[in-house]
Amino acid sequence: MFEFVLLILIPLLSAGVCYFLKNIRLQYSISLFVSAVHLLLSLLIFIGWYKTDLPFFFSTDSLSKLFLLVLSNVYFWVVLVSFSYLKRPVTPNSEEGKRYYFLLLNFYLFANTAAILSNHYGMYWVAAEGTTLSVAPLIYYYRNEEALEAMWKYLFLVSIGIAFAFIGILFLTLSAKGTPLEGQQLFFSEFVKQAGTLNPVWLKASFIFIFVGLSTKIGIAPMHSADVDATSNSPSPIAALMSGSLRVTALLGVMRIFQIMQPTSTYDFAKTILIIGGLLSLLFAFVFMFKVNNYKRMLAYSSIEHLGIITLGIGIGGLAFVGAMYHIIYNSLNKVVLFFSAGNIHHRYKTREVDGVKSVLNILPWSGWLLMISFLSISAIPPFGIFFSELMIFEGMLFSDKPWILAVTMFLLLFIFINMGKTLFQMLYKKDENENIAVEKEHFEIIHFAAIFLLILLIAIAVVSPNILRDNILNISKDFGIKL
């Protein structure tokens, strides 16, 4: 019960407190404290030093422990840099956005934690919709036309998507007709236990609706458009939050039903759908990387690419599944660094167009180098973690019954890498004629500290490979019936 209060009620309370406090610094201190406590407790739960005993509708298993840690970690760094971000001057009408910033962030933490810890599909749905509601106004932070359009599209499309997911949940209850689960509550754990008795036709329908509906939130093609608009037009801490944790929370909903389908005859069907979704996402990222001229949109497409790889890994199963779990962690860390650096560049150059950004390495040495290193990292260059997780996914693909997927994936990834690299190196190195006109040197800020720390963490986790993490991921694989 104690952890329920700390993880779920305190963020809600702190959101309420932020509403009444006028002082941004005070709001920041409270939010930072809450996020630090949240991170600490998530870590303790993950390590196993704290045994959870959550009330009705909530519970923890290996999967939710991992996702909770991912959320807590991303959220902590986002809150940490938020104050220095809010201090930056913005247009007068965006001042209004600052007032509700921490309130919405705290509410996001509340809703997202509830979604991750829920053991009940209905609860998951309500909480997942809550995350949309808290993120949508944050997208509109800059109070300009693009942000408004992005917010509208995100709110509308994701709400419809999540309504579809609700239809899927209703189909899940239909699949339980005539089984011991009929008339029972929609607890994941019960459904997993009785999965063999479920009606396969309704189960398939349920999976399709839940997958397509939540795709709008995960950002899996072809439902990704609102997600790209939202990530590219929101302030960079929010973009980091969405790419690093929100998409993963939506993925959790899909993984839950995938877990239910695992012992049934519909398992292969679900795997095929996941593989199609993953490959389509890679294809869309591949196509749009050729013509993208906005670097934040490019990063948003990179998010789609990596969620595509994760979905593909889950769909393939075996070692690729284990790799996908590692990829979730590494991708969340890496995306935070990428978006933080991109945010610094946007702040200095006041544009998101690639053509307007030149000679970043001279003008913004810290952010420039961090962007370059994090780009190398996201492109799976060793010794960064993504290299190891992608290697595992690729190995899984090679030894699966569909090795041709590896060839397709490698081909798409190669061109995504080339196009992304071309664009980024142009921004970093291309000389600007007006470069010598008095440019103020970039100071070392807390954002750079966070980025460097996360990059070190990215290497450290991969090189040290802590046993606790490995055991946890192996437990998840066992829950999903994966034999290694």
Partner: protein, 210 residues
């Protein structure tokens, strides 16, 4: 009784397909809200309990009073014109709706043979989902999109009663609150869109693309 109410619900969908006035959409939303409330109250007529009335009351307040009032307020504030501005001819739209509903009813009838479902409420709920999506696709005004979204939500609700899924009350109320807040945020966004982008239909939203 459930069947009669579901058929009334279907008739309201036909009315949506025929009408071209914005106000009629709000009236339909209110009407559907009342049907859903009655549907929820109905099983409790014989064994009355205060607890059982919490959900219908919340539903009534949210779907019959708050949301229609709020949408009416937006229509007044933004001075939305009376017509709905369809993107296809009204007659084609009607044909589309009728055609979709026939398919849904026939399919549901076939499905009901293998699974025990209440065919008419099931098919009516699903029809509302499809009609809601049609309204969103074939209408230009953003306010009508919101109405379409709400029709879709009502459809899901009816559909939920048809599959006799028993979600706990706390979660049902949670979903209602979520929907209300979504509509509320959409209303705020529409206000901003009409003032900054000077328009309240989808043509005003074309800045973001690759």
């Amino acid at each position: 009784m459930q069947n009669v109410l579901s058929i009334l619900f279907c008739l309201s969908l036909f009315y949506l397909a025929v009408t071209s006035r914005v106000k009629a959409y709000v009236a339909v939303l209110r009407f559907q809200g009342i049907i859903l409330t009655v549907l929820l109250v109905f099983p409790f007529i014989n064994h009355f309990s205060v607890y059982a009335f919490i959900l219908p009351t919340t539903l009534f307040i949210v779907k019959v009073i708050l949301i229609p009032r709020y949408i009416n307020k937006i229509i007044l504030d933004l001075d939305v014109k009376r017509m709905i501005e369809p993107t296809i001819q009204q007659f084609t739209f009607q044909l589309l709706v009728i055609f979709a509903m026939i398919i849904i009813f026939v399919t549901s009838n076939i499905l009901s043979k293998s699974t025990s479902i209440e065919t008419i409420p099931f098919a009516s709920g699903f029809s509302a989902i499809v009609v809601g999506i049609f309204v969103i696709i074939f209408r230009k005004k953003l306010i009508i999109h919101v109405a379409g979204f709400l029709v879709l939500e009502n459809g899901i609700f009816l559909f939920g009663t048809a599959v006799a899924s028993e979600l706990p009350m706390m979660i049902e109320i949670g979903t209602l609150l979520d929907v209300f807040v979504v509509v509320f945020l959409m209303g705020i966004a529409m206000n901003k869109i009409s003032s900054t982008l000077s328009g309240f239909d989808v043509t005003a939203l074309g800045r973001l693309k690759d």
